[in-house]
């Protein structure tokens, strides 16, 4: 059976949730947030996960080695608000065994 990993996600209210996510479902961080209802529907993953809206912007707070940002992600973050150095689009971070223990905080809604 494929490995499940644990993620620590701090929601927009500042509450941290420990969640388990499967690594064999091609899920991304934005979808994990939606699956666990950690942000109201309609405020995250608005474009569906195409790196076209930045509603899933998250701040990565652990030192995991993450996949490089695609041109689409970089372009979208350049037009997003509240961007920090550790900003990533949740929809572009796929749940893989390497991300076990990842700590992220959801960026404010904009």
């Amino acid at each position: 059976m494929a490995q499940d990993i644990t993620l620590f996600i701090t929601d927009r209210e500042g509450k941290t949730h420990q969640v388990v996510a499967p690594t064999d479902m091609n899920m991304n961080l934005m979808e994990v947030v939606r699956a666990h209802e950690l942000a109201p529907e309609g405020t995250i993953g608005v474009c569906g996960g195409m790196a076209m809206c930045a509603s899933c912007q998250s701040y990565v707070e652990s030192d995991h080695l993450l996949p490089e940002q695609s041109a689409d992600e970089l372009a979208m973050l350049a037009e997003a608000f509240h961007v920090k150095k550790n900003s990533r689009l949740g929809c572009q971070l796929f749940v893989t065994p390497d991300l076990h223990g990842l700590k992220v905080t959801l960026a404010p809604e904009s």
Binding site: P40, E41, G42, T43, M52, A71, A75, A78, V83
Partner: protein, 344 residues
Amino acid sequence: MIIGAGPTGLFTVFEAGLLKLKCHLIDALPQPGGQCSEIYPKKPIYDIPAYPEILAGDLTEKLMEQIAPFSPGFTLGERAETLEKQEDGTFIVTTDQGTQHRAPIVAIAGGLGSFEPRKPPIENLVQYESKGVAYFIKNPEQYRNQHVVIAGGGDSALDWSIFLSDVAASVTLVHRRNEFRGALDSVEKVQELKNQGKIRLITPGEVVGLEGEGALSGVRLQAEQGLITLDCDAFIPLFGLAPKLGPIAHWGLEIEKNAIKVDNSLDYQTNIPGVYAIGDVNTYPGKLKLILCGFHEATLMCQSAYKRIYPERRYVMKYTTVGGVEGFDGTKKEAPKAVIKSID
């Protein structure tokens, strides 16, 4: 009356048309297609039945072609603001521009809501709205001989910089990096105009504050050389559009999870009889926000709407392979008659 001209709203016209019901669509966007045309027209969709792959923009075009025989009316670029039930049971929907439509049935196919401009988090931005700050350019002439600052890195920021470079006294384009995601032609054109001194480009740069007594007189920019102030008459942040449920949330409809609750076991009607919600805008146990689910919901909703309008009539659904498609425009599509030949 259909609120929202995305794929679900458009397909509703077809299903209603088969039942001889004529539709009018209202949408805040200036073109039909909803998210498909506004956010991802060039993205392929793989789960439309019988289309192994279709671009979102092409899906919109195909739907427009499919519903053309039913001559739908369109009120585009206007946001539905209010819904009022009349004594005779009909509804009047009024748009933000005061246009009114009356119909016996309202189908809300509003997707995630109407598209609103994304406003950058600049402290006193709202204070200068319509005093120099604008998120849309409705009348480019108003910027003639003005000093204009545009912010953004997509097509609208590029296209309007190009257009206004011929109208305004000066155009400054500010973007957080020097790569732009707009169409290549536009990027090249901006480069050319920059070389000619017709557009001033500030990258990386970000507008962080606004100045002016009453009306806008300048913007504060965080640029490579530090914080600078730039005198200007207009600041136009163009960071795209994001859907917001908007006025629909105040129509007395039962809202749950930013969506309208409907009776999915029956007909997708809301808590207001005669008002239906279909597609991404609704919610019910097991809801999936998929275009194909929107099509199904539209189909069932139209049957229910017909029964509401004609309670005394008995009707059974007719297959298009049997009944063909009889348009309101006089066209008729039908299966060719079988040719019967005898063998001597």
